[in-house]
Amino acid sequence: MDGGLVLLGGGSGGNGGGGGSSGVSTTESAVLSKVEVVSEACSYPAETELELGLGLSLGSGGSSTGKTKAANSSWGECGRILTAKDFPSVVSQRTNNGGPSSVAVSGTKRAAESVSHDSGSPTGVSQVVGWPPIRAYRMNSLVNQAKAQRGDEGDSGIGEKDKPKDALKKKLNYNGKQTSSATVNEKGYLGFVKVNMDGIPIGRKVDLNAHSSYESLAQALEDMFLRSANSLEKEPLTMASKLLDGSSEFVLTYEDKEGDWMLVGDVPWRMFVRSVRRLRIMRTSEANGLAPRFNESNDRQRSKPI
C-alpha cells in the first residue's frame, strides 16, 4: 500500500539538547486527534504516539507544539523508518544533559553564570570567553571546516564572543566570505553517498552537503524512493511525507568508515556526515543485531513505556 518512508518524527519528543522524554502529554492529544482524521491507513493504537514521540526528535528542537499543529503528525506516527532513537538502550546518556544547556552555542558568554569551583557539575565549555584556549586563527579554520561540511549553520556561535567580538567577527568575515563557496564546491563530491533500498534494484545518490539534519535527509530520501510509490495523502508541508502502511517496515542504516553498519540517528549530525560511507534503507526484519534489543522491541515498541 502506501510506502511511506519516514524517519520518526513526533513532536512530543525531546527538545533541543535534551533527548528528554517529558512533556508528552499536551502534544499527545493533538497528535491523536490528527491521527484519527487520517485513520484508515494508520493502525497504531494510541499509546504508540507516546513512544514514537520518544524517537528521533526530528524537526522538534523545541517546536513540538508547532509540529503537531501542522498536520504532519499524520504521517509521522503511522509508519516510519526506525532509527537509533527508537531503542533507548542504544541511545547514550544524552538525556543526562544536566545543568546549563550548552547546545551548540559555541563561545558565547552567557550572562551571570559564575564558575563555581566547588560545584560537582561544572559550567559548560560554551559559556566562557576565550575558553578552551585555542587561537582565534585555528578557531576560524574549524568554523570554516564545519561550515563546509554542514553546508549552512550560522556560525555566529563561535563569533559572538563578548568583548573583542568585533575582532573575531572581523576575522570570520575574512574567512567566511571565500571559504564557504570554495570548500563546499570542493567537498561537493564527498557529500554524495549511495543509498540503496531493499527491494529496489536501482540505488540513488544523495548529497549530504545539502542537508543539515536528519529530518531533512529523511525528507529527501522519502522523496527519492517513495514519491512514485505513494499517491495518497500529499501534504504540502516541509515535513510531510507519505503514509506507510503496515508496521515499521524499514530502517535507515549506514555504513561508516570502518565498515560497520549502524543505525542512523545515533550520533550528532556532524559526526554522522564525517563518518558515513553509504546508506541503506533496510527491511526491519533484516536489521538484526543493529541494536541490542531490537527484536524484542520490535514487538513491544507499541507498548513501550516512555
Binding site: 547514550s92 559550567t123 571565500q178 550528532p268
Partner: protein, 586 residues
Amino acid sequence: MESSELKRSKDSVNSCESARRSSFPDEVLERVLSLLKSHRDRSSVSLVCKDWYNAERWSRTHVFIGNCYSVSPEIVARRFPRIRSVTLKGKPRFSDFNLVPENWGADIHAWLVVFAAEYPFLEELRLKRMAISDESLEFLAVSFPNFKALSLLSCDGFSTNGLAAIATHCKNLTELDIQENGIDDIGGSWLSCFPESFTTLEVLNFANLTSDINFDALEKLVGRCKSMRVLKLNRSVSLEQLQRLLVNAPQLAELGTGLFSQELTIREYEELESALSNCKNMHTLSGLWDATGIYLPALYLACTHLTFLNLSYAALQSVELAKLLAHCPQLKRLWVLDTVEDKGLEAVGLNCPLLEELRVFPADPFDDEIVHGVTEAGFVAVSFGCPRLHYVLYFCRQMTNAAVATIVQNCPDFTHFRLCIMNPGQPDYLTNEPMDEAFGAVVRTCTKLQRLSVSGLLTDLTFEYIGRYAKNLETLSVAFAGRSDWGMQCVLGGCPKLRKLEIRDCPFGNAALLSGLEKYESMRSLWMSACNVTMNGCRLLAREMPWLNVEVMKEDGSDDSQADKVYVYRSIAGPRRDAPPSVLTL
C-alpha cells in the same frame, strides 16, 4: 667605522682593571663572542665586566625582545649598534584568545622608525603578537635595502596589500613567513608583485591566507627560486596545482599542501604520488586541509624521512591515521585533531617510537554534549609507546589522576606539559576528586619541566606542589583553579625560575598579588584576569615597585573597584604612552 673604533678604544681604556689582567685584544674577544648565539648566554657574558659587556654588545647581531614594552627602541639601538636581526613579541599571550582589547598596542611602527635610522642594514624581522599596518610594511619594504626575512606570527592590523609592498620592494628577500595572523585578506595579486628577476626566495609560507591566489604567478615564482626549501600553500591551491609545483621544486624540505581533496583521475593521482615521493629532502609536512582516506596514500612514499607531521587541519579518523603513521617511522613531532580518537593515538604509540612532541587539538571544542575526541586512554597509550615524549599539548574532555601519574612515569622528561580538560573545573571523572595529584605527579617526576598549563578541578594543593617541586618552571598557565590566595602565594614563593605567570578566573586576590612584589622584577610578566584583585591592590603594587608597569584593563559595566584584567611587567622604558583609554597605567 672610524667612530666606532674610537669608541671602542676609549672603552677599553676605561676598563683598566681588565686591561691589566688580560691582554686579550678586543677584536679577538669580539670574534669569540660573536659565535655565541643564545641570547641568554650573551646576557650572562655581558655581566662579567665592562670589557666583556662592550665586546658583547658590539658583536651582537641578533636581539631578542620578549616584551616590546620592557625596553624602548632607542635604548636598544644605543646598546647594540650592529644589529641585523630583531625578534619582538608584543601582546600578552591571552590576546590569542580574545581576552585583550583590540587596540591594546604593541605597534611596530615606532620601532621601525628607529631601526631605519640606526640599523639601515637590518636583514631580519620576526614579530609575534604585534600590531602592524600596511603602511608599516611598506615603510619596512623601502627602508631596508638588505632586508631578507620577515616572519609574522599571530599579528594583526595588515592586509595583503602590505604583503604586496614587501614583494615589490625587497629585492633580497629570502623569507616570507605569514602564520596565523589576523590578516585582512583582500586578494591574491600580491604574489604577482615579485619581479620576474627575483630568485632568492627560500621560505614562502602563506597558509594563513584564505583567498585565491594567482597560481600562474606562484608557479613561475617557485620555478625560478631554485633555493626554495620551505613552501606552505593555502587552501585555495588544489591537488592538481600542488603536483605542478612539486615537479619544479623537488628540493623542498618543508611542504604545506593546499586543499587535500579533489576528484582526480587515476593518472592524476599517480602523478601526484610521484611528485610527492620525489621530494627526498622532505622532513616537514603540513596543510592537508580536508584530507580524507582517499588521497592520503599518495603521501605514503613521501613520509619516509618525515620528522614533523601537522595534521591539525585534517579531520582524520583513527584508521586513516594509523595507516599513514605506518609510513612515518622517523616522526618526532605530530599534531592531530581529536577526531582520531584514542584508537588513533594507540597507533601513534605503536608506530612512532621516536616521538618527542604531540599536540592534540579539539575538532569540536564547544560541543560538550557528547563525549568524543580523545580521553586519558589515548594519552596513556602514547606514553607507553613514546618514551622520548617531552612536549605535549592535549585537549580532552576527561582525565584521571592515575592516568597522568602513569604517563609521567613512562615519560619523565617532559619539558612542556600543557593539559587542557575542556570543561572548566572538572574533577577526575572516575574518583570525582580534584586533579591535584595529577599535576603533583607531573612536577615531582618531571624535573626538567619548563612550561606547565593546568586544568580541571584544582585546589591550592596543586600550587603547593608546583611551588615546592617545579624548580625549572618558567611558564605557568592557570585557569578556573585554586581555592584561596595561598595557592598563588605558593607559586610565587617557590619556582625560582618563573618568568611568565598567566592566570584567569581564579579566586586569587590582593594578598596573592602582593606576595610577589619582589618576584615580578625577575619575571617577564604577570597576567591576572577575572580574579579577585582590586584597583587598590594594583595601585599599591605600582607604588611599591617603580620598575614595574602595572596596567589594568577595565570592562564595561564592571565595578569600579575591581581590576578586571591586570598585566604587570618589568620595564626600563617606564610606563608606555600609547595605551588606549581602556587600559589604565597605574
